[in-house]
């Protein structure tokens, strides 16, 4: 997030797009509800009539995968109606002229034909966002899990830049991170493009710095993403893999392909806290300490660096991840893995990462710092981009709409979109083992609009077979107007409804993030599944 969570009640207009916040980030959503109660304008754009819509002044039920068209048309209206913050654009951005020329072609009427929402509503959204003195954008995976995920994010950046909604309170571009420490995994350099602290791998100076620190030459070019790594496992170029704390088989797209990739490896080591579909494929399974047993650090969605603490001893022989990984490193004869405690590891991270340079284990005791914290006297950075952008000027990107990788046709006439539910978390390795959660949600359903239930010969509470180009699942039907006509929804949380058997039609060319939000399917009535086991 460019802005802190406590900023969420300050915008005049709040634009939530592709974020089912009341279910996926419920505590953050309480701040939005309070902002609305105090008079903020809330725009919600989402294919599904998610609970947040009940708090919205304007709801844009866009067709799945049509975000770029909506955002282009909003930019068009902002430009046409003189809502551009010309002063901000002149002082702090570049390439606006080309962008301005570009968006003049994309009217709300054009976008209506793609997004399937009225042009007047698109224009109204543009005025609410562009006319506000402080407007904030919040988004989640509904923006990024598309073949055009980068385009979607850059389209949001264009809107914020043209209206001057960056670098100030109650504004900004705010991705809501979905996992407790997914921001931290990036901060730590567990990504193929960056060393710790987002120091680019393809900068030879950075590669040289880490070569010196880690005691061997390191390639001064980006590595490959997980998606490409799984492809290379399938074709035999990657032979050994370490997977930590991820149930790859269930959470990743195109399950059959993923299982084939992992089965092709000579050597798979999995570190986890529970047996999963992924540990079942491993050659070596190493038991890790869980939350509540582990001292360490998380970074939250607002870049706040916070301590986590052990409250109870580990179960059985479980050991902290850092100890396990260090033991493997030492057995490979590598120097620099002689840590005695989590704080040794964290303090080393602070010493090699400029955004953590002002931090150490003791200084984060109260969770008072949001990175970057470049030195010991720095108070942290709750709001990014105040006064200047890190890389000079904010650049406009000329972006055009593209169809999803797969679109509906006669054989697969229904849009499937996937996501999460309040009462389950990811593949339920944790929440599924918490007593009582079953009372609230005990099985997966496919959410279908009541009109479609009738038209497709389904019955509410009966079963349906959902089939994509890659596979087929059987799932109970739930009739609900939360799904728009022609679009159905499933979460990927339940192992007996492996929705990612269906997904995986395409990937963003830059990030290789899968298009998990769009998958054309066929939905047909079927008999109840025969229970296994």
């Amino acid at each position: 997030m460019s802005n802190p969570l406590r900023d969420m009640d300050k915008p005049e207009t709040i634009f939530c797009i592709g974020t089912n916040m009341t279910e996926c980030h419920p505590v953050a959503a309480t701040r939005i509800k309070r902002a609305v109660a105090k008079g903020a304008h809330l725009i919600v754009a989402d294919p599904r009539r998610i609970p947040l819509v009940e708090y919205a002044e304007l709801y844009l039920p866009i067709r799945v995968g049509s975000d770029v068209a909506l955002l282009l048309a909003m930019a068009h209206v902002i430009e046409r109606e003189g809502l551009v913050d010309e002063e901000f654009v002149a002082a702090r951005t570049q390439d606006f002229a080309a962008f301005r020329e570009h968006v003049r072609r994309f009217t709300p009427e054009w976008a209506e034909s793609i997004c399937q929402v009225p042009a007047a509503d698109i224009a109204r959204a543009a005025r609410l966002y562009g006319g506000a003195s402080r407007a904030a954008i919040y988004y989640t995976l509904g923006i990024t899990e598309h073949i055009c995920g980068v385009d979607n994010v850059q389209s949001l950046c264009n809107l914020a830049l043209m209206t001057g909604n960056l670098g100030k309170e109650g504004a900004g571009i705010n991705p809501m991170r979905g996992q407790n420490n997914i921001q931290g995994a990036g901060d730590c350099g567990a990504i193929p493009a960056n060393f710790p602290g987002f120091q680019a791998c393809d900068d030879p100076a950075n590669a040289a710095k880490f070569a010196k620190l880690y005691g061997r030459p390191i390639q001064a070019r980006k590595g490959i993403t997980k998606v490409h790594a799984l492809e290379r496992a399938t074709d035999g170029r990657i032979r050994a893999m370490l997977i930590c704390g991820e149930n790859t088989v269930v959470s990743d797209p195109d399950r059959h392909h993923c299982e084939k990739a992992l089965n092709s490896l000579d050597h798979l080591v999995v570190i986890d806290v529970f047996p999963t579909e992924t540990t079942a494929l491993a050659d070596v399974v190493l038991p890790a300490t869980a939350w509540g047993e582990t001292d360490g650090v998380y970074t939250n969605t607002e870049r706040r660096v916070q301590r986590v603490r052990a409250a109870v001893p580990p179960q059985g022989e479980a050991r902290p991840d850092w100890w396990i990984v260090s033991q493997i490193g030492r057995r490979l004869g590598l120097p620099g893995f002689e840590y005695e405690a989590a704080r040794d590891v964290f303090d080393e991270l602070c010493s090699v990462s400029p955004i953590y340079a002002g931090l150490d284990w003791d200084r984060i005791e109260d969770g008072a710092y949001q990175w970057p914290v470049p030195d010991r006297n720095h108070p942290g950075t709750p709001i990014l981009h105040v006064g200047e952008f890190k890389n000079g000027r904010g650049r406009f990107n000329v972006i055009s709409y593209r169809d999803p990788a797969e679109v509906v046709d006669a054989e697969y006439p229904v849009w499937l979109t996937t996501g999460r539910r309040l009462e389950a978390y990811h593949t339920r390795t944790m929440s599924g083992r918490a007593a009582g959660m079953d009372y609230l949600l005990n099985e997966e359903t496919v959410e279908v609009h009541p009109d479609n239930v009738r038209a497709w010969g389904l019955s509410d509470g009966g079963f349906a077979r959902v089939t994509s180009r890659r596979g087929s699942i059987v799932v109970r039907v739930e009739a609900t107007p939360q799904s728009p006509r022609g679009t159905v929804f499933c979460s990927f949380s339940f192992g007996d409804v492996p929705v990612n058997v269906l997904t995986g039609g395409g990937y963003d060319p830059v990030t290789t993030t899968a298009e998990l939000k769009v998958c054309p399917v066929r939905v047909e009535p079927c008999a109840a599944p025969v229970p296994t086991a």
Binding site: T22, P26, V27, T30, K33, E145, Q179, N180, Q183, A185, C188, A190, I191, P192, F195, Y214, I218, R221, G223, I224, T225, V227, A229, I238, A240, M241, I243, C244, E246, P253, F274, D283, V284, L286, P287, A290, W291, G292, T299, E302, Q306, V308, V312, Q315, G316, E317, D321, I328, G329, F337, A342, F346, G367, Y425, T429, S431, A434, G436, Y439, A514
Partner: protein
Amino acid sequence: MTETAPIPTKTQRASTLVLDGVEVPFQDGESLYQVAQRHRSEVPTLCYDPRLDAFGACRLCVVEVEGFRTPVASCTTRAAAGMKVRTRTDALEQHRKTLLELVASESRDSGDAHGKGTPGHVDPLRGYASQELATLTARYAVDGTRFAGAHSGRSHREDDNPFLLRDYDLCISCYRCVRVCAEREGDHAISVANRGFHTQITTEFGGKLLDSSCTFCGQCVQTCPTGALADRKAMRNAGQPGELTKTRTVCPYCGVGCSVDIVTRGERIVAVQPAMDGPANEGALCVKGQFAWDHVQHPERLKTPLVRDAAGRLVPASWDEALGRAAAGFAKALREHGDESIYAIASGRAPHESAYTIQKLIRAAAGTNFVDNCSRA
């Protein structure tokens, strides 16, 4: 609630008033209660939660203000320059004791083993604020006999949800639950029906919470000052021996990063409670953070290393053997297939120290950037 109001900043013009004979500053808009609390005057309350709009229901926080005919509720009275305020007079203390005797007459035996027989005493596992009434009845040496008689509130015993015990027999009608649900959560799942001795906290149509707009976030439980709303899941551990200890940490679910206290007795986790001063959540939690914690000590946890045997089965192994096998596999791949033959996926669920060592392992062992995390799916 022990949270204190913010100290006025230099940019805000501070006026002063006289509090128990001492001149003290305050900032515009502050209530007398906030001023008194910041100066550690121990003004009692039961209906006050610093996160909620002041309500003025319990009248325990009354203070005397010179020139005012009767004592006023300090939580709903704005501080004004030159006020002379007394928070601790014999008359006020007698007034508070009488009010507490009325409140205590509402309270019934919780049945909890903890503090049995004392009015208002309930097991602290019931919730974060559950000891507030008991603390005040002890401070004012109040028992429930003086006004013993009719009660308001009837426990909702039919609600079989696993998380929120609706023990309204202990309810004192402070409305904190109703207010936190409306003002903080925006859910409006619970409301008040009737008046006087017929007062009842309820949901629409008096049904189960499951059939209401309740999201089971547990905020009503954690603000309840009597334990009438209680953490039913935690209460299952009421018999667990050992001192009750709290450890401050951060929730393991989504990326909001809510601060929580893990509540333990001995080596068992018995509850999670919200951290009222958590920077990301300011006391709020959701159903997962509040109630989905018992995976940690679940019997299905992986407890020993496992290695695949000659027959292809995963079998228990010593750490030494498993780590040797793990390292040997990577060494073999590097030796036979080169630096680009090994890969690692770090976790977005594990702490920094996990991700940092994993990326270092790949970069130090292979000299590649063949490492990723689970952010792409």
